[in-house]
Amino acid sequence: MKAKILLSLLVLLGAAGALAWSRKGPASAGLVDAGEFSVLEVERILQHSPLGAPPPDPTNAVADQPAAATLGQLLFFDKRFSASGKVSCATCHDPLKGFGDGKALSASFPLDRNVPTLWNVAYGRWFFWDGRADSLWSQALKPLENPREHGFTRLQATQLLHADGSLRGAYVAAFGPIPDVGKFPAAGGPVEDAAHRAAWESMAEADRAVVDRIFSNAGKSIQAYERRLVSRSSRFDTFVEGLRTGDRAKMDALSPSARLGLKIFVGKGNCRLCHSGPAFSDGEFHNLGIPPTRGGPTPFRYTAIPEIRQDPFNGKGPFSDDREAGTKRVDFLVDLPETWGQVKTPGLRNVARTAPYMHQGQFKSLEDVVMFYSLLQGVLQAGHHERTILRPLLLDRKEVVGLVDFLESLTDEAIDERLLKPLD
C-alpha cells in the first residue's frame, strides 16, 4: 500500500515535471522543426523580447510621475536654458533624428563624441559614452553647465524656473513650492568662468544647497520625461511573439534575410555577448579599438569612475532620494587598468534611425558597422593591459545584408508622437 502511495506521488511529480517541460515546447516549435534555428538559438532569441518597463531608479522619487515628466518635457525643448538662448537639449538630441543630431561629430559644438540617442536611455546603468554619470538625472545636469554645450549656470536655471510662471507651475506640481531664489545672484555655479564661479562661492553653503536641490529636481524631471522614450514595438518583437506562441503569420514579420541576420547575431557573430537582453545592451563598457577621428586616444571609462565618486549629484549624495541604493551603485565600482579606452555598449532598438555610429560616428551606415566586424579593418592594436576577444567574422555578402536587415527590423513603428515635440 505504501508503495502504491509512493508511486502515485512520484507519478504526480513526474506529471508536474512534464507539464513544466511542455510549457517550454511551443517556443522551440515551428522554425526549429523547419531547421531554420536550433533550440539554443531560439532560447537566445527569446532573451531579446519583449522589452519590459524601464528598471526603477530609486534615487529619483519622481522618475515615473507624470507631473515631473511634464516639467521635464518643457525643459527639454526650452532654449532659454542656455547662455546664447539658442540651445536646448533637443538641439543635439533631435527627436526627428532619432534623438541624435545625425552628424558624426557636432559642427556647432566643439565636442569630440557622437551625440548618443535617447531612445531607451532609461534602461541604462551608466550614462554618457564613458558612463561618468550614475543616474539619468545627474547626467541631464552636466550639459547645462558645460561651456561647450548650453554654457548656462545652475543659478540662471533656478532663477528661470522661479521667474517663469509656466515653468514654476509645472515645478510646483511635481515637487511642491519652489524656494525664493530671487535674493541670490542672477548667475553662478561651480563652472570654468571665473565670474560665475566667484558668484557661486560668495553664497552661503546652505543657500547653495537650496539651489542645488532645485537644480537636481530639474534633472529629475528631465529623467522622468526621458524614461518615456521607449522603443519596444518592432517587427522583431512581432516575430518573437510568433516564435513564442507558434504563430506563423507573426513570424513572417521578419524577412528570410533578416532571419539570417538574426541567426548570425545570436550565433557565429556573437553580437549578443555585448548587445544582450531586450534592450540589446549589457549597459557596460568595451574597447573595440576603433581609431579616433578627433583628438587622441581617450581614457573614457578609466577616468569616468573617479568622476562618479566625486560627483555631488551621484546616487549616494545629498540630493539622491535613496542614498542606500545609490551607495551600492557607487561603492561597487572598481578601478581596473583594462577600463582604459572602454566605451558603453549602445542599445540597438531604433538603431536604423540613429546613424552615424560609434562614439565618434566613425561609421556612416549600418553596413559600414557590419563590415567593420566582418574584417576588423583599421582596428587599433590592443595596448598594455588591453586584450580583445574580437575576431573577424569574415561574412559573405548575403550575411552582411542579412545583419543589416535584422538591425533595421528593430525600428519601432508605434512611437508616441506627443513625446517628439514641445508641449503646447
Binding site: 508503495a3 509512493l6 508511486l7 512520484l10 507519478v11 511529480l13 513526474g14 508536474a16 515535471g17 512534464a18 507539464l19 513544466a20 517541460w21 517550454k24 539554443l40 532560447e43 537566445r44 532573451q47 549578443r272 555577448l273 555585448c274 544582450s276 537582453g277 549589457d282 549597459g283 557596460e284 563598457f285 551600492k328 561603492d331 561597487f332 565600482l333 572598481v334 581596473l336 583594462e338 577600463t339 586584450r387 576577444i389
Partner: protein, 137 residues
C-alpha cells in the same frame, strides 16, 4: 523493487528537470564543494538563484575547515571570465555573518558565457581558492 527504484529515479529526474525553471530569487540551491587544495569545504548559495546574465546577485558562503580550528578565517569573493580575459566591472562587498559564514553583495556577470566564481579563504597568512563554474546562456 529494482523496477520501483528505476521508476523512482526516472520520475525524480523528470520532475527535477521540470522544476529547474523556478523564477529567479525563489530558489535556494546550496552548492557544496571543496577548495582547490582540499583544505576547506564550501557551502554556497546565490540570491537570486539561478544567476541571470547582467543582473546583480549576492552570494552567501559558509566555510568549514576539513581539519583543525576554524579560527581567524577570512573570505573574499570575486569572479572572472577566463575566455574574455576580464572579470566583473565591480567589486563585491564582503561582510562576515555569524560563525563561519560570509555574505558577498553586488556581484554582476555582465556577459553570457563561462564564468569562474572564486571564494578565496585565508587562514594563518595562507590563501586557498575554491571555485565554481557558472555558465550563462
Amino acid at each position: 523493487m529494482t523496477t520501483m527504484r528505476r521508476l523512482l529515479t526516472l520520475v525524480l529526474l523528470f520532475g527535477a528537470a521540470g522544476c529547474d525553471q523556478a523564477p529567479a530569487g525563489r530558489g535556494r540551491d546550496v552548492r557544496t564543494f571543496d577548495s582547490n587544495g582540499g583544505k576547506y569545504t564550501i557551502e554556497l548559495t546565490t540570491s537570486p538563484s539561478p544567476i541571470a546574465t547582467n543582473q546583480p546577485f549576492d552570494v552567501a558562503v559558509t566555510v568549514t575547515p576539513k581539519s583543525g580550528p576554524a579560527a581567524d578565517l577570512d573570505v573574499q569573493v570575486d569572479a572572472r571570465m577566463p575566455a574574455h580575459f576580464h572579470g566583473m566591472n565591480r567589486v563585491a562587498k564582503v561582510t562576515r555573518g555569524s560563525g563561519n559564514s560570509w555574505k558577498a553583495e553586488g556581484l554582476l556577470f555582465h556577459m553570457p558565457g563561462h564564468w569562474e566564481l572564486y571564494v578565496d579563504v585565508t587562514q594563518g597568512g595562507a590563501t586557498e581558492r575554491a571555485q565554481l563554474d557558472v555558465d550563462l546562456k
